[in-house]
């Protein structure tokens, strides 16, 4: 179940030197209890059956692996899109929210909390909380609430309380801190549904397991549809859950390249980005040891991306390890390149992708001709749909036309 997680010498949840449990003491026992419950649930056939039934009947899995013919013709290689945007609620986030809410129910918790950046994880958690009759509170940075207003309304309509976080730069990082503060205060009856493969053990490994359904399906589907394994997998990396979910089931397939695409924002030289592998260094933030964008004093740097879901100063610890052992490579795409790709994909395939996912599409548009030919097969994880972003995109374009 948890390959590649070392449990060495009392230091749980390591991915090489990364990961771990760097949290206040008050959370250590709750995290251990969560790990125990997760491992027990994964051995429980009834739990697994309930989860799989819901993934099929409620989420709509398996999601299609769609051969993007016009995009392929335009770019060269055969390109397949893993359509996580077709999941109920519009992104891969629900794979994890559903499983964690089921776990919360199993643990007898009556309340779930979540952080959200783009709002997709908040919507997915609010949805699953409604499904199981759990109280739900979602923490969201004030800036993100403004740029993802549609998702705020969706969460509220689903019965969740959305709390505006006004600390710091008012985005995802502050929302996570605020959710952790809630959790340490209400840990007896509350489960924290962390939305990405990040944070203290067991979250990175657990969220990856819940998201690996993406890669397991994609592997089966590409073998059936293309008759062979792909040459490369491409996915965007914020915290890194959609990408690790796609990558993980292919880790042993040595011929399959893996490319994680971070937010290049206004460009690396501008300093306004969230490209942790471009400028980050190893540190500890919000529970885990990983690459962190920080200054010479160890203070966490401000980040920028047009995409709220990628706008975060650190990256999931398993990605840090895959980077160091060179099993995956990491690159970035700027806001401008992402916006351009949004329109290209819309015209080629009739798909409006989320601003997060479009970073992966943009990377393929930018780099394909140099690396792959017609004979090659690529899978892009289309982790979410773009409905939530249309107002922001319209505003961005208006501003850029003026400029």
């Amino acid at each position: 179940m948890s390959r590649n997680v070392n449990k060495s010498a009392g230091q749980p949840g390591r991915f090489g030197p990364y990961g771990g449990m760097f949290v206040p003491e008050i959370l250590m026992e709750p995290l251990r209890a969560l790990e125990g419950e997760w491992r027990a649930a994964m051995r429980d056939t009834q739990f697994k059956r309930e989860l799989n039934d819901l993934l099929r009947q409620y989420v709509g899995r398996p999601t299609p692996l769609y051969h993007a013919a016009r995009m392929s013709a335009a770019l060269g290689p055969e390109i397949y899109l893993k359509r996580e945007d077709l999941c109920h609620t519009g992104a891969h986030k629900i794979n994890n929210s559903l499983a964690q809410c089921l776990l919360a129910k199993r643990m007898g918790k009556t309340r779930v909390i979540a952080e959200t950046g783009a709002g997709q994880h908040g919507v997915a958690t609010a949805t699953c909380a409604a499904l199981f009759g759990l109280e739900c509170v979602v923490y969201m940075g004030k800036v993100d609430m403004e740029r993802q207003a549609l998702n705020v309304f969706r969460m509220q309509a689903l019965g969740a309380k959305v709390v505006s976080v006004t600390a710091g730069q008012q985005t995802l990082k502050e929302a996570i801190s605020e959710a952790m503060r809630d959790w340490v205060t209400n840990v007896h009856h509350t489960h924290y549904v962390l939305g990405t493969a990040y944070g203290a053990h067991p979250y990175p490994g657990m969220v990856r397991e819940f998201q690996s359904v993406i890669g397991r399906e994609a592997r089966r589907q590409i073998l059936a549809q293309a008759g062979r394994l792909p040459d490369a997998l491409i996915a965007c990396v914020g915290g890194g859950s959609n990408s690790i979910g796609l990558f993980h089931p292919f880790l042993k397939d040595r011929g399959v390249a893996m490319i994680g695409v971070e937010a290049g924002g206004l460009g690396i030289r501008s300093g306004q980005h969230a490209a942790r592998f471009a400028e980050g260094r190893v540190g500890v933030l919000q529970g885990t040891r990983t690459y962190v964008l920080q200054d010479d004093e160890g203070q966490i740097r401000l980040t920028h991306s047009v995409s709220a879901g990628l706008d975060y100063a650190a990256v999931g610890p398993e990605h840090a390890w895959l980077h160091d052992i060179q099993r995956a490579e990491y690159s970035y795409i700027t806001d401008d390149e992402a916006m351009d790709a949004f329109h290209k994909l819309a015209r080629w395939e009739g798909i409006l992708a989320a601003l997060e996912s479009i970073h992966a599409v943009a990377w393929v548009i930018k780099h394909t001709c140099r690396r792959w030919t017609k004979k090659d097969v690529l899978i892009i994880n289309l982790s979410g749909r773009g409905d939530k972003d249309v107002q922001q995109i319209a505003a961005w374009e208006q501003a850029h036309r003026k400029a």
Binding site: S177, E297, Q299, I300
Partner: protein, 269 residues
């Protein structure tokens, strides 16, 4: 065997005299390092036994609004590690007050933990309490601190079962900090009911002095909290008092007098 740090020596001396200890928290550099230096001297004059000096961090996830805001003010005013250590070194020329550095891990890692610990030792600090470094992850860091004769104060909380408390106190030096309740730092109206139980459980497992903190804000509160403990820690209430005092000399004098009332309440127990 190591020499006792100023922290351990002070708490041992109090114990020998049958007195309870008072530990005060301030955020380093709020609103300036010169102000912090002045505040610490005033706290010492008010009878404070140990000062917890907060190393400001941009993302203090275990802190409530008061100390979050203090860290924000300190960073905005340019508090850096080397300036903070400069202030500690200046302070040491005038005061022997025991100083415990209260920090998140990341600001201590960025220039290498060993170098950071050496800086602290040579400036004259007496130990560290690292909020997000649980005992499982701490072995190497604590060895470094031991080599430098710096204390490493462990935290136990209402969610820590007996086996964990045992492990934490075994890895602690100076004293053990009991967190009185679940939650973040910040002022509370009354002492949490689980606090006494936790104190008693901790006492049974260690000979180290045990301090109780989180949420203490009034003399009555402090006196009640210290009944079962060797010392109390007061943080947010003090940070807030000095912040409200507008950091004028008269304001600070009044805030220090208020701290004095808490200290006296504790000393009477």
């Amino acid at each position: 065997m190591q020499n006792a740090t100023r922290i351990a020596a002070r708490l041992a001396d109090l114990k020998a005299r049958g007195k309870k200890g008072f530990i005060a928290y301030v955020t380093g550099g709020d609103p300036s390092l010169a102000a912090t230096e002045d505040i610490i001297l005033r706290l010492e004059d008010a009878g404070v036994d140990v000062v917890e000096l907060g190393v400001p961090f941009s993302d203090p996830l275990a802190d409530g609004p008061t100390i979050q805001a203090a860290a924000g003010r300190a960073l905005a005013a340019g508090a850096t590690w080397s300036r903070l250590m400069g202030m500690v070194a200046r302070l040491r020329r005038r005061s022997e007050v025991p100083l415990l550095l209260f920090s998140y891990l990341n600001p201590l890692l960025v220039r290498g933990f060993d170098r950071t610990a050496r800086d602290a030792a040579s400036a004259g600090a007496d130990g560290f309490l690292i909020l997000d470094l649980p005992v499982e992850e701490a072995a190497k860091n604590f060895q470094t601190l031991d080599r430098l004769n710096l204390d490493h104060v462990g935290l136990v909380t209402p969610t820590s079962p007996a086996e964990r408390i045992k492990r934490i106190v075994a890895a602690s030096s100076g004293f053990v900090y009991c967190v009185s309740r679940e939650g973040v730092t910040g002022v509370q109206q009354q002492l949490a009911p689980g606090a006494v139980k936790l104190l008693k459980a901790t006492r049974r497992l260690t000979k180290l002095p045990v301090a109780l903190g989180f949420g203490i804000a009034t003399p009555q509160h402090a006196a009640a909290a210290v009944q079962e403990a060797d010392a109390v820690v007061v943080g947010s209430a003090i940070v807030d008092r000095f912040h409200q005092a507008q950091h004028t000399a008269t304001g600070r004098a009044a805030a220090a007098r208020w701290v004095g009332t808490l200290v006296r309440a504790v000393k009477k127990v």
